[in-house]
Symmetry: C2
Subunit: 342 residues, 2 copies
DNA sequence: TTGTAGGCGTTATCAA
DNA sequence: TTGATAACGCCTACAA
């Protein structure tokens, strides 16, 4: 059984003191080049790796970040988080961090999870997803000076913290313009109940594009419902039954869009032609040839890590954030993936 | 700024020595009940949590498990891993473990990741996914006595290690029987190139069900291709062009099944009726009303954690596994989700 | 430029 | 039943 390789093993092997090895690791400029090389050789041949546990005890930094993995709700939108997580892990690795997973049924459980993770593993920071109005989580973390970034804007509270988000309004506007360009004049919006930051944002893009093209706003074409395939189908049947039905739909999610397509295809007696766009470019959209707004999730994840590590490096103490530098915000532009229904 | 609560703080508060607090935590039976209560009160009021880092230095156990998050390959099958990971995290939490994520482009990178994770974070164990023939990863881990479980059977090598898997043959057989029950007599199989353990397994279920029903095997109905929508469509067009085309298809994945459906719908001149079953019950299947074989992923994840923690508890030393108890294997039965195409 | 001493929070060992 | 002591591997002073 091979002996555990510590900093002492390396020191012995390279004929230097333990401290010199530590210097090579943390402040290489202090060590003479020749010595440095010798130590690096020893490290390589012995396969030494610093023990994060031991380092953490001295420095208080664990090089661990946390992210939540949600219970695949809808199933369709689930893959969004999946791709985001993958990007997060990849970028974090490059920055010398690891991502720890946690689950939480509700906000209270999530805060309990923070407490546990912080206490037991001394996490360096958090990446929160799915912000909503009056998010209690950010308040809790900010209060304790825990570094964090959110993927999603803080929708109301003026709390200032770093965040990354995708411009949903721009995405919806692109989709709407695409439909207008294809000759549509009556374009409905199917979104989520007012009050959902994300939903309202996307709706505003639809509105803006209509205005831009001098198309009138009609209240009957502005619909809200809970997310889901069946809900999307129900709303669509409603819309198609109007005296002057829309010829195209901008949907706030792929789930709604799929429902819309199904409803249109089976609308009595022989189905109805209806152009539909979705949101999130999920695998389902890809599979059925649905035009959808694609979020740059890999990029978003990378920017989250960037922001977080910047915070971490400027905040070695772990104490409250220095008031000096303002937190950064990043708004990414989505892109429209145009497809032909298969 | 609140002082950091350590075992010493608790000891002072409860008027005992540090060691007694440690005993309350790890060997409560050694401590008199009255003292125990006092210490527990102190722990609660102070909000003390043991520092995993410090504990790890003494015990060598990190309470950390690792799992790989794959780059959403196909997009469609990606969500399978997603759901598995969620189950893993949830069950691990209940067992007092946390899940650390890592990525790896290929097998070599994956082994490098093991090395890093083991060296730096001193991980307690690994959950591997997607085993294939002659998996080098399991050999590497076994050689070093690192505890691990695979989700997926070791397909050839007689290496004995704990694993959890879903009975793909049983799933394919169920799908085939369902089609037979619906009156189909010419049922094709669309799977992956021979040599893929998972693919061969699923194919064998189709074969068995045919035999069971005294249906003849026809070579021309036994197809293999790379996974993907377009590939599935191509194979299906091929099949439909046969002199005696099949009326139903059992597919080894939802991707292939989707391709098959698209090909059938657009088969000249007016499309062709074709019953299709998929595999994995992905969100896409749900969305388009595809009958598919569903894997009990949450259960699989839970069994993985069970097996792994059992290993961990019996293997405190971290050394080679005790030869005494044979590793456990778990084969779960999938279920068929029957749907009507929407 | 390199080496020595001490301590981070915990648990194992041993003594009281 | 409880308490003192040492050690896990590392890093930050400080001294040489």
């Amino acid at each position: 059984m091979p002996e555990k390789v510590t900093i002492a093993t390396v020191a012995r092997h390279a004929q230097v003191s333990r401290q010199t090895v530590s210097n090579v690791l943390n402040s290489p400029h202090l060590v003479r080049e020749e010595t440095r090389e010798r130590v690096r050789d020893a490290i390589a041949t012995l396969g030494y790796r610093v023990s994060q546990a031991a380092r953490q005890m001295r420095t208080g930094r664990s090089k661990l970040l946390a992210a939540r993995i949600e219970p695949t709700r809808d199933g369709i939108n689930g893959s969004v988080l999946d791709r985001f997580l993958h990007g997060l892990t990849e970028t974090a690795e490059a920055a010398g961090y690891r991502v720890l997973l946690y689950t939480a049924g509700d906000r209270a459980a999530e805060i309990a999870a923070y407490d546990d993770l912080l206490g037991a593993y001394d996490l360096d920071g958090f990446v929160l997803t799915g912000t909503d109005h009056g998010d209690v989580r950010t308040a809790w973390l900010a209060e304790r000076g825990v570094p964090f970034v959110t993927f999603g804007r803080p929708w109301d509270s003026p709390e200032r913290h770093p965040w990354v988000d995708v411009d949903g309004a721009a995405g919806a506007a692109q989709a709407t313009r695409h439909l207008i360009g294809a000759g549509h004049r009556r374009i409905a919006f199917v979104g989520w109940p007012a009050g959902s930051g994300v939903g309202d944002d996307r709706r505003s893009g639809w509105l803006a594009a209509l205005r831009e093209a001098d198309l009138p706003y009609a209240d009957e074409l502005d619909r809200r419902t809970v997310d889901g395939i069946t809900e999307g189908a129900a709303v669509t049947r409603d819309l198609l039954a109007l005296a002057e039905p829309p010829t195209a739909l901008v949907c706030a999610s792929d789930s709604l869009a799929i429902g819309a397509l199904q409803a249109a295809r089976t609308y009595p007696p022989n189905g109805r032609d209806l152009a539909v766009t979705g949101f999130d470019d999920t695998p389902v959209a890809q599979a059925i040839g649905l035009t959808s707004v694609s979020q740059p999730l890999g990029q978003a994840a990378a920017r989250c890590i960037e922001l977080l590590t910047a915070l971490l490096d400027g905040d070695v103490s772990g104490g409250p954030r220095a008031a000096g530098q303002p937190p950064s915000q990043v708004l990414l532009r989505p892109s429209l993936v145009i497809r032909q229904p298969a």
